[in-house]
């Protein structure tokens, strides 16, 4: 029921955006839709926490991890919707885009989120694939929103790379299904069917299939070496879209990989998938960590940072044990903090008209609040307290030191290197004297509220997990 509310509200919002002429009504409708969705998502989460998996009708199946991610993406979507309008309005005032574009953005945003919801909740692997593939299409237009050569380039790369990746994932999915006896395989194959037949799977086929899945959906997650589209897309998309991409799309793709991972582990034992996850996670961490120190564009930097985070999360799942717990925590924290970072980076862009790091100086003088939030958020992502990533990284490393000492140490080293790089950029962005021609002062308060609120949420969750969320995480850890 609650899920239907989500879908209907989002569909309704889309329709309103399509038909109405008045921008304000679209914004209100979308924001309201996301608000309602977030509320019902938390209802679902609560239900799952109390009664276990939630499958209102046969197309839908929501386990604890799904519920967490559903709630998460809805929160991110909600704040992005709030942030998007004032942001676009500012750009329209600066004659960067036409006023009518707002309509397009909100339609695409709603559709995008709708597809994400369906992808993550669908009970059929194939359906999940179909919806995720469709997000690629919606995403392409969101990236090319500004219709500049550079944005077209980013969108094209995004389109091609992700299509290839997703087709590989499709193949992997099919391979999984071929494992089933013919009687089962014709008709609809659900996750649970796959799970129930997993013990009888052909191990080699399953291994190959999982490799295809990991590389395919890993492209969407942004694991190295399939990450190449990420910095381009993130840096070219409008700020709120960047938030949605790294805050909502990434976890969804990750969840689907994890669903397959559970099945694989049943079929071929855990060590296989563990090694793969560790390998790709570590590679991502290394590639991203080394990029920070010489990166020249702060939105690209955020892109790399979410590659690094994806890597750490994957590492956590790979290490297993307490690491899984850490990884799930980190999914939550990262989505929230990273969205806040994208919002504030949007404010930077509005103020300094450039996403070059060497252009932006003394942001703390120009934008006291945004820059403060940016600095705090960046330090939080780099793993400093009082934010939760600090603890989740410690957990990850400690679980790694049990069985994979070398990998854990390497990860630790590159976490520090990542900190060095990130922090170098952060201090050169925010501190120092501001350029003379930039005059101090924040934009509208609606540009400040979303990052502030979502960062505050992350901070609170760093200390206090609501009971239902906590039980969800526990269940998810067990089920993984």
């Amino acid at each position: 029921m609650a899920l239907l509310i989500i879908i209907f509200s989002l569909v309704a919002a889309t329709i309103i955006c399509l038909v109405s002429k008045n921008v304000r009504s679209m914004v209100l409708a979308s924001t309201a839709a996301f608000g309602i969705s977030a509320a019902s998502a938390s209802l679902i989460a609560d239900k799952v926490a109390r009664h276990g998996d939630y499958a209102p009708f046969r197309f839908v199946q929501i386990n604890s991890l799904t519920a967490i991610v559903l709630l998460l993406i809805m929160i991110v979507g909600f704040f992005s919707a709030i942030y998007a309008y004032p942001y676009l309005a500012e750009e329209a005032n600066k004659k960067i885009i036409g006023r009518t574009r707002t309509k397009q953005l909100f339609i695409l945003l709603n559709v995008f989120m709708l597809l994400l919801v369906m992808a993550v909740t669908a009970s059929y692997p194939i359906l999940s694939w179909v919806f995720l593939e469709s997000t690629t299409l919606a995403g392409a237009f969101l990236i090319s929103f500004y219709n500049k050569p550079s944005t077209i380039e980013a969108a094209w790369k995004y389109l091609i790379i992700n299509s290839v990746g997703l087709l590989l994932a499709f193949f992997g999915t099919l391979l999984f299904i071929t494992n089933l006896p013919g009687s089962v395989s014709n008709g609809f194959v659900t996750w649970s069917i796959l799970g129930s037949f997993a013990p009888h799977f052909n191990t080699v086929i399953t291994k190959v299939a999982f490799i295809f899945i990991l590389i395919g959906y890993g492209t969407k997650v942004g694991l190295a070496p399939m990450h190449t589209w990420k910095p381009d897309a993130y840096s070219k998309a409008p700020a709120p879209i960047g938030a949605v991409f790294s805050g909502a799309l990434m976890p969804v793709a990750l969840v689907i990989i994890l669903k397959f991972r559970v099945i694989t582990d049943v079929a071929v034992g855990t060590s296989f998938s563990q090694h793969l996850l560790i390998a790709f996670g570590l590679l991502s961490v290394i590639v991203a960590a080394l990029s920070f120190i010489t990166v020249v564009n702060y939105k690209r930097m955020l892109g790399y940072s979410s590659i690094e985070q994806a890597g750490l999360i994957t590492l956590g799942f790979g290490f297993g044990g307490i690491g899984r717990y850490a990884a799930i925590l980190q999914i939550i924290y990262h989505s929230l903090i990273k969205s806040s970072l994208f919002f504030t980076s949007g404010n930077f862009l509005l103020k300094f008209h450039s996403s070059k790091i060497k252009v932006v100086r003394g942001a703390l003088s120009a934008l006291p609040i945004s820059a403060g939030l940016f600095l705090v958020g960046l330090l939080a992502v780099a793993g400093l307290p009082p934010f939760g990533i600090f603890i989740s990284e410690i957990m990850t490393i400690s679980s790694g030191l049990k069985h994979y000492i070398a990998y854990a140490l390497v990860a630790m080293v590159f976490i520090v290197i990542a900190f060095i790089g990130l922090f170098k950029q952060a201090s050169s962005l925010t501190l120092g004297e501001k350029p003379k021609d930039i005059k101090a002062g924040e934009g509208s308060r609606w540009l400040l509220f979303p990052p502030l609120a979502i960062l505050g949420l992350a901070l609170v969750l760093g200390f206090y997990m609501p009971p239902f969320l906590h039980t969800l995480i526990r269940q998810a850890v067990v089920s993984q």
Binding site: F212, P385, I397, L401, F423, H470
Partner: protein, 680 residues
């Protein structure tokens, strides 16, 4: 009464005072004066409460745990443990905080309108609270949490004057160094956790006996380097002389006087409290590192002419001295000489306390001078004793204390350190003997050099004639700042006079830290306040020395004034000038003063003296500039190399993102094939 103070609620009150202070300041938007007062009044109150709290904990001999308050995470529980060591460090912290905050009321006035005083107040109180949390937490994760917050808050205070890019660079260096160090500490704690399955200190202690020696050694190395970096031991010190001068002076005082001591605190906690029993080489390592740090630290200080950097280098020196005591204690522990262990530990703790006092005093005085003149360059000072006599006297007291001159407190703790090192030389086999001997000699050498360094610092700052217009225009600083310094100066004397009792109680405190209750005390305090070491091995009487040191000069003055040639005529005239007119430029500068020592220690300092002769149009060159510079070998050879290595790697990895989509697809294909090849 005491019981009610020494209780979880007492601790909660302590933290909440600083909490209110910090948050309240930010809420008072705009009104600088109110923010300033609010921030400091609360930190002062907090400091006072902390003193009451810790003092009554020590007096009532209570210790308590605050367990539970578990957050919704596994193994992060907000659990604290107040024992004697914690109480001692609370006292050390709060004493410095008290006077630095009083000073701060005057100092922060200079920020009005230029920087946001609200942020200052927030981070200042946060910083203090974090330090207190560090010395009270009894859970590894909570400790790391507080530790990072402490670093972060101090970082924001370092870059508080953020428009100066030097401060920004200093802050960057500081935070990455301390973060790397924290990574090592984290590893150490994780290793302990993986062994003990808990981050709780007591559980870890309980599980130590079953720990393999190799694991213990790894933990020791990680922890020693990690905490050593925070403490500023050479070669992990490079952040210290950069960061401490950058912060507002009273914050520098806290960082240099107190914050770096938290590293010492944790070393004591871990090495003498938790990881017992410890092998011999740990202690020897500490002594060797300590000797190096104290000699090199003071040598670098000699070459400095930025007054706050000079003081920062002296912190390195004094950390070295503390390490000599601590290392001695560890060696004695491994040699099963508990009484001597207590002696050295007392020396280390007492010197920690004293250094906190006089180093804070010196930084405050230096800050006053810098504020009055607007520069930190000693070469630009001179003659300030006339314009700011009280600051001068206070600085002089600090200088005498840090140079271990009687009758101030530095003298007694250094005396005690000497005694413990001599005992080390007397006991133990050939290796131990010579290591202790090395410590002893380097301590003596460092003492002499420190003396020279402070003659230079005081002389070229306050004496003779002003060497710049800034120094000419200097005025005495506000009453707040002077009273803050005066308090610390008095404390220097009091700690000195009361040294005998303090040392004894520190020894009995050491008993509890190291859980060696049966260890006898080697020291005894005779009726005449004389501190006896062993059976008349050595003895010292603080009151006697104080009285004599004050009375004798007075007596000499009195006699020569009133009994000999009472009607002497005293006229004042210019300094003898050999016929030329003598200008301030002829005075000896701080660089000139230290030149000969710099040259003598050339091999250690890599110092180079270069003459830059202006093109001689006529027969005689118009001007000759001599520059004495030293190479920072650590930055150049160690850290610089590491940093550039990372840079090179980074540029190399950038080639992955070459913008060509075909390549990107190829990556995927290759990843697929490799994964298939490896996976199956």
């Amino acid at each position: 009464m005491l019981a009610s103070i020494v209780s979880p609620s007492g601790l909660i009150i302590l933290f909440s005072i600083f909490g209110i202070g910090g948050i309240g300041t930010t809420l008072l938007r705009g009104n600088n004066r109110a923010q300033n007062l609010w921030a400091h009044i609360f930190s002062i109150t907090g400091a006072l409460w902390g003193l009451i709290f810790a003092a009554s904990a020590l007096i009532s001999n209570r210790e308590f745990y605050v367990n539970g308050l578990a957050t919704s995470f596994p193994f992060l529980s907000l659990s604290f443990h107040i024992d004697k060591l914690s109480s001692l460090f609370i006292i050390i912290i709060c004493l410095s905080v008290l006077f630095c905050s009083i000073y701060g009321i005057g100092y922060v006035k200079s920020f009005y309108g230029r920087y946001n005083v609200g942020n200052y107040g927030f981070f200042y109180n946060l910083f203090i609270a974090a330090m207190l949390a560090v010395v009270t937490s009894s859970n590894g994760i909570l400790f790391l949490f507080a530790w990072e917050i402490m670093s972060l808050a101090s970082y924001f205070l370092v870059v508080y004057e953020r428009h100066d890019h030097k401060n920004v660079k200093a802050g960057y260096l500081y935070l990455i160094m301390t973060h790397a160090a924290t990574a090592l500490i984290t590893l150490a704690f994780i290793l302990l956790f993986n062994h003990a399955h808990s981050f709780d200190f007591n559980t870890i202690r309980a599980s130590v006996p079953s720990m393999s020696m190799a694991l213990k050694n790894i933990v020791f190395l990680l922890a020693f380097v990690g905490f050593g970096t925070k403490a500023g031991i050479i070669p992990f010190h490079i952040w210290l002389p950069a960061a401490h001068p950058a912060a507002p002076s009273h914050v520098s005082a806290l960082m240099s006087g107190v914050m770096i001591k938290t590293g010492i605190y944790m070393m004591i906690r871990l090495f003498l409290g938790i990881l017992l029993p410890i092998p011999l080489w740990w202690g020897l390592t500490l002594i060797i590192v300590g000797s190096i740090s104290c000699v090199l630290g003071v040598l670098y200080a000699l070459t400095e002419h930025d007054i706050k950097r000079l003081l920062a280098y002296h912190s390195i020196e004094n950390i070295g001295i503390i390490l000599l005591g601590l290392g001695g204690a560890m060696v004695f522990y491994s040699l099963h000489l508990p009484t001597l262990m207590l002696l050295s530990l007392a020396a280390a703790l007492f010197h920690t306390w004293n250094h906190a006092t006089f180093k804070s005093l010196l930084f405050l005085a230096a800050g006053s001078v810098a504020l009055a003149t607007g520069t930190k360059n000693i070469e630009k000072y001179g003659g300030l004793i006339k314009s700011m006599p009280q600051t001068a006297i206070l600085f002089l007291i600090g200088a005498m204390a840090i140079s271990a001159l009687p009758p101030f407190n530095g003298f007694y703790s250094e005396w005690l350190t000497f005694q413990s090192l001599i005992h080390g030389v007397l006991s133990g086999d050939i290796l131990v003997k010579w290591v202790f001997l090395g410590g002893l000699v380097s301590l003596a050498l460092a003492g002499g050099l420190a003396l020279a360094c402070f003659v230079k610092a005081f002389g070229s700052t306050f004496l003779a004639r002003p060497r710049s217009v800034m120094a000419k225009g200097a005025k005495e600083v506000s009453i707040w700042m002077r009273s803050g310094m005066a308090g610390l100066a008095v404390l220097c004397l009091v700690l000195g006079v009361a040294s005998a009792y303090i040392i004894k109680s520190l020894e009995s405190l050491g008993r509890e830290i190291t859980a060696s209750p049966r260890a006898g005390l080697i020291t005894s305090v005779s009726s005449r306040q004389t501190l006896q070491i062993g059976h008349n091995f050595g003895s010292i009487s603080a009151p006697f020395i104080t009285v004599v040191a004050v009375a004798t000069p007075l007596l000499v003055w009195f006699v020569s004034r009133y009994f000999i040639n009472r009607h002497q005529k005293i006229t004042s005239s210019p300094t003898w000038d050999c016929g030329t007119d003598i200008t301030p430029r002829m005075e000896i500068t701080s660089t000139g003063f230290a030149r000969s020592l710099t040259m003598i220690f050339q091999p250690l300092l890599r110092s180079n003296l270069s003459y830059d002769t202006a093109p001689a149009g006529s027969l005689a060159p118009t001007s000759i500039v001599a520059t004495v510079g030293i190479v920072d070998i650590y930055k150049k050879y160690i850290y610089g190399r590491m940093y550039s290595l990372i840079n090179i790697l980074s540029i190399y990895f950038k080639k992955i993102q070459n913008g060509n989509i075909n390549a990107y697809i190829l990556y995927i294909l290759l990843a697929l094939i490799i994964a298939l090849a490896m996976g199956i």
